[in-house]
Amino acid sequence: MASKTATKDIITLRGSAAIVSEFFGYAANSILYNRGLYPEESFARVKKYGLPLLLTQDEGVKSFISNLTSQLSEWLEAGKLQRVVLVIMSKASGEVLERWNFSIETDGEVIETGVSREKSDKEIMREIQAIMRQIASSITYLPCLDETCVFDVLAYTDKDCSVPFTWMESDAKLIANPQMVKLHSFDTKIHKVDTLVSYKNDDWDEP
């Protein structure tokens, strides 16, 4: 009889990579919706992580994100991904206004030996849910994005990682003197994902 108190599920490297890359897909959609990068009508509601989340129906954006998440999944399985950054830039000036930073710590042992870990799926879902809620509520303190903005995604990988032909080297697209807010993190016991959003200071915040 399975004991009620310790319901832990087996997490494999592949499973963990899938969880993390899927999370990133939903998080990216949520950011695009909440920051108003694409019109609201272009998003459809789905249920995930126990929350109503929005997914873009725009074909271009959809394919971009799905290509992205499949590549991230590959890198995660190889243990090569250090962080993923979603950058929001002004369309007109190209200036970076916001950076959503997801840093990833990978358990090296799992990469080398291929062992699996144990953690309750529900627990992971709860942690992810907390992050998604924080992303949605971030609009309360993030400065308004008044102009049309575009987004891009940067992946920080190990130096020895081979670059797939659909990717290219990029600069870090940092913000000068940013304000930073650290959000919750989640841990699959194989990958630990920390979330941080840094944004350009609102001009009229300063005295």
């Binding site: 009508e41 990988t157 130096k159 990029s170 930073m180």
Partner: protein
């Protein structure tokens, strides 16, 4: 949790300068009270502490900050400096210094909590808004030390300023009075844990030894330029000066014998800038560019009068709906009748709209037909749903959805994707919220699924609909029968025309639905409205037999900016009618 106000040195500066301000104020108050530091009413009630704490004759019980080493050093220094000095009361001068420190300990507490009685002495709440706890303590200590040392430079002759500055707490003393704390002279106290963390993070970021940064080659599609999110609070195209909306008509023309019938649509302005108006049995064309009038056709008595006119997208061909249920198609440049559509409707055709080569007609019989004007058997689709006269018909800009309004108070949305080949097509949405005939229909140019509809005399409301979901997103009671609606293509505004009692045209700001202007002039209900192709001028006709022109959407010379559309330009491929 704001993780790093440290790191942004400007916040640092803000806090320190605020601290300075308060400290200076506080010290000024304290020194001003130099003569009366013994007056107890200045002290608020502090937390009782077990055991009392007396420091050189001054009771500092309840202020644990006086346990700090630096404060002790300052007191020792001051003691030495004020040696043998006494106050007027005879007390050693040091007691005044410590009293000052005590006042400041209350005003600038280390835990960031203010004591209410002293609320009005604070400059602002942002004093401790973003500093770490230890920073607050550091500043609190600095402030108290400054208070203790405030008379050193003035009152003692032995110690010069430089001597004072060579001893601890030298920096605090000088900087309190001169400039905000720079902090780099005293690195150990100025860098807080969060600043270190930020430095570390930055270093990590630049640690390119083991990291490469990659970006996807194919960039995501840029969001559509046109209109930013409706819910953001800013104004469209920021800070445009309010344009002047002329309150009177620019031009008035005679329109004798125009029929005063709510259910007809007798006015239309084509893309070639020619206005067509049906007066009784005759259709006239008025060229807006030169003001020339010409007659297109006079219908004979059995067939007429004319009940609707509608220009085709090419601005050359025009459909004329008749009382006898027929529809004539004319070529306006050659003044030739090309075709007559018969056999469809059984009663008069009061409403029409074009969708490329499809002419949609609505009749008094409640039927709506999609007529493909190129083929012999022209009826290609039937929409059944209205059981009374169809008086409003409008295709959406994309041509995907059709809105129809009838005398049965029903507004229906039809979608092309739901077409069935043999059977009449089913409606997508059937909206029955209006309580009177729905004639006024207008699709929003900047939000493709937004439709505005207006109700007749028994309803008087303008309602806004999301045509994907069928939900009514807003309803505004205008107080008067709504005869026609037009959206401004350049700004977010809606124009409605009304009947009794003012017969006015009202310009509303969208989405706030604030009235921006009311244009009066007509003396009977303004049944018909049409918009010029450049989007600046509106023509209105009423039963008072006048046709008026209003530059309500902008002056023609200025508004040369093309309207920004989210979808492709409607009627982009203009099919010729054979």
């Amino acid at each position: 949790m704001i993780a790093a106000a440290a790191g942004s040195s400007s916040a640092h500066g803000a806090v320190t300068s605020a601290i300075t301000q308060v400290a200076v104020t506080a010290v000024a108050i304290a020194s001003g009270a130099c003569l009366s530091t013994k007056v107890e009413f200045l002290w608020p009630k502090v937390d009782e502490q077990p055991g009392s704490h007396i420091l050189d004759g001054v009771d500092v019980t309840g202020h644990p900050i006086f346990n700090d080493a630096r404060v002790h050093k300052a007191i020792a220094f001051a003691k030495k400096a004020h040696h043998c000095q006494t106050r007027r009361t005879g007390d050693p001068y040091l007691s005044h210094c410590i009293h000052t420190g005590k006042i400041l300990a209350v005003l600038v507490p280390s835990d960031g909590k203010r004591i209410h009685e002293y609320q009005n002495y604070f400059v602002s709440d942002r004093l401790y808004g973003s500093a770490e706890l230890d920073l607050r303590l550091v500043y609190a200590i600095d402030t108290i030390v400054a208070g203790i040392l405030h008379d050193i430079v003035d009152d003692t002759c032995e110690i010069t300023c430089s001597a004072a500055t060579t001893k601890t707490p030298q920096d605090e003393c000088r900087s309190r009075y001169t400039q905000p704390r720079r902090g780099k002279e005293n690195p150990s106290t100025s860098s807080s844990p969060s600043r270190e963390a930020y430095r570390k993070q930055l270093a990590e970021t630049f640690n390119m030894n083991r990291t490469r940064i990659l970006a996807f080659k194919n960039k995501p599609p840029t969001p559509v330029e046109a209109i930013p999110n409706d819910f953001s609070s800013h104004q469209l195209k920021s800070a445009k000066p309010r344009r002047h909306i002329p309150q009177t008509s620019e031009k008035t023309l005679d329109a004798p014998d125009i029929m005063d019938d709510y259910y007809l649509n007798l006015l239309d302005w084509g893309s070639s800038n020619v206005l067509s108006i049906a007066l009784g049995h005759t259709v006239y064309l008025w060229d807006a560019s030169d003001g020339a009038t010409s007659e297109l056709v006079t219908i004979d008595d059995e067939c007429g009068p004319v009940t609707s006119v509608k220009w085709a997208p090419d601005g050359r061909h025009i459909a004329v709906g008749l009382n006898n249920s027929e529809v004539q198609l004319w070529d306006s440049t050659s003044n030739r009748l090309l075709r007559t559509l018969k056999g469809g409707h059984r009663l008069r055709v009061g409403a029409m709209d074009w969708n490329n080569h499809i002419l949609t007609t609505g009749g008094m019989d409640g039927q709506i037909f999609n007529n493909d004007v190129r083929v012999r058997s022209h009826i290609v689709e039937t929409y059944t749903g209205h059981d009374q006269e169809v008086c409003g018909l409008k295709w959406s800009a994309s041509g995907q959805q059709l809105a129809s309004g009838g005398n049965d108070n029903v507004l229906q949305i039809w979608d092309r994707s739901m077409a069935a080949s043999n059977a009449p097509t089913q409606w997508l949405h059937r909206l029955e919220e209006h309580t009177a005939a729905v004639k006024a229909l207008a699709w929003c140019p900047f939000q493709s699924n937004l439709l505005a509809s207006g109700g007749g005399a028994g309803d008087r409301c303008i309602k806004f609909w999301n045509t994907y979901t069928g939900a009514c997103v807003n309803s505004v009671d205008t107080g008067s029968q709504v005869c026609a609606l037009l959206w401004n293509k350049n700004e977010r505004e809606l124009l409605s025309s009304h009947g009794f009692t003012h017969n006015q045209l009202t310009l509303w700001k969208y989405p706030s639905m604030v009235k921006m202007a009311e244009l009066t002039g007509h003396t009977s209900r303004v049944l018909y409205m049409a918009q010029s192709p450049d989007g600046c001028t509106v023509a209105s006709a009423a039963g008072d037999e006048t046709l008026r022109f209003w530059n309500v959407f902008g002056t023609p010379e200025v508004a040369t900016k093309p309207a920004q559309k989210t979808n492709s330009v409607p009627f982009a491929h203009l099919n010729r009618i054979r």
